[in-house]
């Protein structure tokens, strides 16, 4: 029998742990899956967030949600800290957090949604002896390298793994030493219906165009992401520079959406763009909560990431019928193929990427054809209504029977 928690709800079957609730790929994908589970399964589950974020309320609307960072210090910890007894204060704070999470401890399955969320496992100890830990790997080498030691130490406790793409699965086996029998691939997914239901108004798209000074009719090459080096915004600038040197593509504009204007990388990129004489055609745009109008503005979507498991922004762009061009060493290459739903080029070959972009811009029929196939495939395979039941079936299969 499940022990009742403080507010009377029973012990959950599954605790889903997310490192944060930002509007980024991994938390969004988890949110979609949880919505499906709420509506279509009997599973009792709760959400544990290490940090909050913009979609925290969305998680709370789906299931009881606890944010570890919000479990602040108590009076005793405060007193201890004031007297300089920091170690004691830390222990008292840890005890408070563990007490707050006690109702979750009986869960028979803990689902850690990214590697970083493995750090929550000690807070949920001791669990039932037959507890199963599942880790969803959305990361590649750079993120693994930056993984906090606390989370890294918990990796061996995971019984099952979910990889965000075949490339991630391959990497997990070769690089992280994970047993191939214990890891399955489930591609990321998006909410197709919601995106279809809220198309950006034409005026909003035009306003976006005007805000960058892009003339009507000028082709736009887009990219979306933070300006950290992993996402390759510098390669996007090299791509723009290469295209701009050619007569045929001199009027093309380049928009990078998601550039925090205060980030040092953004400032450095702006300096590059100015010095290269590209300031009129390369635009770094700050992140927006509803970025649909920008996606609608793009004629071609480029993914210049140095590594990326399977970014949702590519699915969102493809859903609109905008073909993607990416490097072959990203998970998105599995979707793009060689002209099926987009194009992939050798890693770092910005000339080849520029050639693909030029081909697509110069051939609207081909662009439309590739875009249509990409859109259909997203609706067919990457809507959470299609993808979540497959993942849910695996979760059900792995969950200990009681």
């Amino acid at each position: 029998m499940s022990a009742p928690s403080d507010d009377g709800r029973g012990t959950p079957d599954v605790v889903f742990v997310s490192h944060e609730a930002t509007r980024t790929g991994a938390p969004l994908m988890l949110l979609y899956v949880l919505r499906w589970l709420r509506d279509h399964s009997e599973l009792r589950f709760e959400v544990l967030l290490l940090e909050g974020g913009a979609i925290e309320a969305d998680f709370a609307a789906v299931a009881p949600t606890t944010v570890v960072a919000d479990i602040g210090p108590g009076r005793l910890d405060g007193v201890a800290r004031r007297f300089g007894a920091h170690r004691l204060a830390d222990r008292l704070h840890e005890r408070r957090r563990r007490a707050a999470l006690a109702p979750l401890r009986g869960a028979s399955l803990v689902y850690c949604n990214v590697l970083e969320s493995l750090a929550a496992l000690p807070l949920l100890d001791p669990g039932p002896p037959d507890r199963v830990v599942v880790t969803h790997i959305h990361e590649m080498r750079a993120a693994f390298r930056a993984l906090a030691p606390a989370a890294r130490a918990q990796l061996r406790r995971s019984d099952r793994f979910v990889a965000a793409s075949d490339l991630v699965r391959e990497l997990a086996i070769d690089h992280f030493g994970i047993d191939p029998e214990r890891i399955v691939r489930h591609y990321e997914c998006i909410d197709v219906e919601a995106l279809h239901a809220t198309p950006p108004p034409a005026e909003a798209v035009e306003a976006a165009r005007r805000s960058c000074g892009i003339p009507v009719g000028a082709p736009v090459v887009g990219a979306v992401g933070v300006t950290g080096w992993r996402k390759g915004p510098d390669l996007f600038v090299l791509l723009a520079d290469h295209l701009h040197r050619r007569e045929a593509t001199r009027d093309v504009h380049f928009v990078w959406l998601g550039a925090d204007p205060e980030a040092p990388e953004t400032r450095s990129l702006r300096r590059d763009v100015e010095r290269a004489g590209l300031a009129d055609v390369v635009h770094f745009v700050a992140p927006e909560p509803a970025p649909g109008r920008w996606f609608a503005l793009f004629d071609v979507f480029t993914l210049t990431s140095r590594e990326d498991p399977f970014p949702l922004v590519c699915l969102e762009s493809s859903l609109l019928g905008t073909p993607i061009v990416c490097f072959a060493n990203t998970g998105m290459a599995e979707f793009a193929g060689e002209g099926e739903c987009g194009f992939m080029v050798d890693y770092l070959d910005v000339e080849a990427m520029a050639a693909r972009v030029t081909d697509l811009l110069e051939d609207p029929d081909r662009r439309a054809e590739v875009g249509r196939r990409a859109s259909e495939r997203v609706q067919r395979e990457f809507d959470y209504r299609v993808a979540a039941p497959l993942l849910a079936a695996d979760i059900e299969r792995w969950r200990p029977r009681r």
């Binding site: 520079d241 290269a276 770092l348």
Partner: protein
């Protein structure tokens, strides 16, 4: 006849690195001018101490007796929390208390900053070089010494524009007190610095084929120029009729090092090129290259690339880099427009082809001459002597 005024040259140590060898050359050149009686103060020793001692009286702080009555008295003062008295005693032990306002102290880098703790405030004038890797200053100097540095140094000689900018804008140093000088460069010796192995042996150890053209670069502190360099290497692999090329990268353990390892991993996997990551053997890196790529956004030319150029290695760089000014007519093709990675790859391919066919000797000779004229010891001595004369007139 009175004794000539003195110049104390301060450095952290005397390692057998390219920079260490350049330092010995500099001290010798300063002594040869005869303008001042040169003495050297090192904090740590090293294999080049004897070479230095041959050109000027040299004192090594680390070699001071540890158990003499003076040393024990000095330690007692620090233990009793009387650091000012402790430093005064240290100054006496080093003979620095006898240095007068007409004398001068030249710090060859920020690692020598601790000497300022011992110098009397009304003592000799101080000139301080700020080397390329010593910016930002706070990474090189603790806050207390930094405050002392800003207050006590009469003339800063930063080798980069970034260094000068930081001094003026962030530390309030008057513009007139910070004058940019050119870096000091010596050609890469055929002996791998510190190891006694020849560069040819080192190439063989790294598995570099004897007939391969080695295209090298390095980045010790940031992603710039890691990112652009990797792209150019990838493009180079796709150029027609390029002879076997080995890519060589040296980087300290930084994010740049991680991304370059990542990129080399992919370039190797794709069969596009082979790569050799040299870890922290930065000094040797340029000596192992046949061609170097300097695709940095910054305007200054890092020491290793100057060394390469001074040794006759062609360096492909972006317009706007200071090296572009040195690449005289014969090597002008090695300068490509900013961010034009395609042009850089084309130029590298051309250089690789011509090197295999006998090498661009004329350009290399012009390059050697240009770099040595601008960055050799004579230019450095002139800049230091001028600064010293201004702050410590005799």
């Amino acid at each position: 006849m009175t004794d000539p005024a003195r110049l104390l040259v301060v450095h952290h140590g005397a390692e057998r690195t390219a920079e260490g060898v350049a330092f010995v050359d500099l001290v010798a050149a300063l002594a040869e001018t005869g303008e001042r009686r040169v003495e050297v103060l090192l904090f740590a020793g090293g294999p080049l101490v004897e070479d230095l001692a041959r050109v000027a009286p040299t004192t090594v702080v680390a070699d001071l007796p540890r158990w003499s009555p003076d040393a024990l008295a000095e330690r007692a003062l620090f233990a009793l929390r009387r650091p000012a008295a402790g430093y005064r005693r240290r100054a006496r032990r080093l003979g620095l208390d006898r240095w007068a306002p007409g004398d001068a102290v030249y710090l060859h880098g920020l690692l020598g900053v601790q000497v300022l703790r011992y110098l009397p405030t009304d003592g000799p004038a101080v000139v301080c070089r700020v080397a390329e890797g010593e910016v930002p200053l706070l990474h090189s100097v603790n806050p207390a010494d930094l405050a002392l540095l800003v207050a006590r140094v009469d003339r800063f000689l930063p080798v980069t524009a970034a260094g000068r900018r930081e001094l003026v804008e962030e530390h309030g140093v008057a513009e007139a007190r910070a004058r940019r000088i050119r870096d000091l460069v010596v050609p890469v010796d055929d002996r791998f610095p510190g190891s006694g192995r020849s560069l040819a042996d080192r190439r063989a150890e790294l598995g570099i084929a004897p007939d391969a053209v080695v295209v090298g670069s390095f980045g010790a502190t940031s992603l710039d120029p890691t990112d652009v360099t990797a792209v150019v290497w990838a493009l180079l692999a796709g150029r027609a009729d390029v002879p076997p090329v080995e890519l060589l990268w040296a980087a300290a353990r930084t994010p740049a090092g991680f991304w370059m390892e990542h990129d080399l991993h992919h370039l190797r996997r794709g069969g596009a090129a082979h790569g050799v990551a040299l870890g922290e053997e930065l000094d040797a890196a340029m000596g192992l290259c046949d061609v170097a790529v300097l695709l940095t956004r910054a305007g200054h030319c890092p020491h290793g690339f100057l060394q390469a150029a001074a040794s006759g290695v062609p360096v492909v760089c972006f317009e706007g880099n200071e090296l572009a000014d040195v690449l005289v007519a014969d090597a002008r093709d090695d300068v490509v427009p900013f961010l034009d990675v395609g042009a850089a790859a084309d130029r590298l391919a051309g250089l690789a082809r011509s090197l295999r066919a006998g090498g661009p000797d004329r350009a290399a000779r012009a390059l050697i001459e240009g770099v040595r004229q601008r960055y050799g010891p004579a230019a450095a001595v002139a800049a230091i002597t001028e600064a010293v004369a201004e702050v410590a007139p005799r």
